[in-house]
């Protein structure tokens, strides 16, 4: 992610709603502008959908720079303030190694994949909220 310009292209991220959880999938590497827009959209959606949990799927990413990991961390903190727990899922082995080598700390829950992430959210937010 060397390109630091705000891009006019449509977001490469989808945010789906599943019960009281939001599932945000990042499909391709995002530049800083796209990350900021993603952050804003997601925080908005937490309010409008009354979400209790957020899963961010980064399976398609093979790199994450310091700005990217900081943005994810900020999303988790802001989500918590708006009443939703966040979990990152789908970090590939190569990405995990490169993040550790770069000393990037996520300081937030992670899970293997979407299924695990949803299971984690159920365990921390309780199933009572599901219809």
């Amino acid at each position: 992610m060397t390109d630091r310009e705000v891009s006019a292209e449509p977001l490469r991220v989808s945010i789906l709603s599943q019960g009281s959880y939001l599932i945000a999938s990042i499909h391709t590497a995002l530049d800083d502008g796209q990350l900021v827009r993603f952050q804003r959209d997601l925080i908005d959606r937490i309010g409008s959908q009354r979400a209790r949990g957020v899963v961010i799927d980064v399976a398609a990413l093979d790199v994450l720079d310091s700005f990217g990991s900081r943005t994810l961390r900020d999303i988790a903190r802001m989500s918590r303030l708006r009443g939703a727990e966040t979990v990152i899922v789908g970090i590939a082995p190569e990405l995990a190694v490169s993040m550790v080598r770069l000393g990037l700390q996520l300081e937030m829950p992670t899970a293997l994949d979407l299924e695990e992430g949803l299971a984690y959210l159920r365990s921390v937010t309780g199933t009572a909220i599901l219809p």
Binding site: I88, V89, I91, A92, P93, L95, A96, V97, M99, V100, R101, L106, T110, A111, L112, D113, E116, G117
Partner: protein, 296 residues
């Protein structure tokens, strides 16, 4: 390989005659095959080369090498010899035959044959010289080919074994659903630590593991770099949603880690492998009970 013709002009003049020298040489070696071959085999035994092989084996290999040798002198092509030498190396390397033995026997053959040429041509010194001019480069090339083939084969075997060891050195084993163990035996160096991380993360993804127990009972010592590698591997596992329990830290390693100040506060360590597996089962919600207790 350069020709050892002493005088360029004389060599050029003698070329026509020399063309016939090699065939003559070959005919001579074929004619005295039995005797020369036995002499050679005897000298191999005398110098206690190829001690890993029985005299019968030495004799039969000596026969093949001899025929190949003469074949190369005749055709000038070392390809067949190369194949044979590789094949021979493949057979004798597992039996512990050393490079010096292989080089030794080829040089012995060269000497045995040279002696027989001396004997045959000792009356005509000029002719002997020209015969040797034809013989020596070919003989040297043969010695070279055999030695190189042998060493190449050895290197191939060593590479193969190193690969096998590398593959076997960090097994990833599933003991329960979502629970892996990685027993590590032997010294951990940077390269192995890297490989360990790779296997660990790959295993987590493949087995959808939630807890991994890394047992380092069999690791005698650890350096600061490797310890940091281990910490990184644990961090990377956590990013993939798996917790790591390290077991079997020896007193020496515990002391080293504390002395060099590796931050292990985030590491979950348990005394031995059994304790580690029990802890992992607890984390995963398994409860292991004796069948008899259950019945009672």
């Amino acid at each position: 390989m350069t020709s050892t013709t002493p005088d360029g002009l004389a060599g050029a003049e003698a070329t026509a005659g020399d063309d016939l020298l090699l065939p003559e040489l070959v005919a001579h070696l074929r004619e005295h095959r039995t005797q020369l071959r036995r002499e050679w085999a005897n000298r191999i035994t005398d110098e206690s080369l190829l001690s890993a092989m029985t005299p019968q084996e030495i004799f039969s290999e000596a026969t093949s090498v001899y025929d190949n040798y003469v074949g190369v002198l005749e055709t000038g092509s070392v390809e067949a010899l190369q194949d044979y030498a590789r094949d021979l190396s493949e057979r004798i390397i597992p039996r512990g035959v050393e490079t010096n033995e292989v080089v030794g026997i080829v040089l012995l053959l060269r000497d045995v044959l040279a002696r027989s040429l001396f004997e045959k041509y000792h009356n005509d010194f000029g002719l002997l010289n020209r015969v040797l001019d034809a013989y020596e480069p070919a003989a040297n090339r043969i010695a070279n080919t055999v030695a190189v083939s042998f060493v190449q084969e050895r290197e191939r075997v060593i590479r193969q074994q190193a690969d096998a060891i590398r593959e076997l050195s960090t097994p990833v084993l599933q003991v329960r659903e979502r629970l892996l163990i990685l027993p590590i035996i032997g010294v951990l160096d940077d390269q192995r630590a890297d490989q360990l991380t790779e296997q660990l993360l790959g295993g987590i993804r493949r087995h959808r593991a939630k807890v991994v127990v890394i047992d380092i009972t069999g690791v005698p010592e650890i350096t600061a770099e490797v310890a940091n590698h281990l910490v990184q591997a644990v961090d990377a596992s956590r990013l993939m949603g798996a917790g790591v329990i390290i077991t079997g830290l020896s007193p020496e390693i515990a002391q080293t880690l504390v002395t060099i100040g590796v931050d292990l506060t985030k590491m979950n360590t348990v005394g031995d492998l059994q304790g580690g597996i029990e802890e992992a089962e607890r984390l995963l919600g398994f409860r292991v009970t004796r069948a008899s207790d259950e019945d009672g």
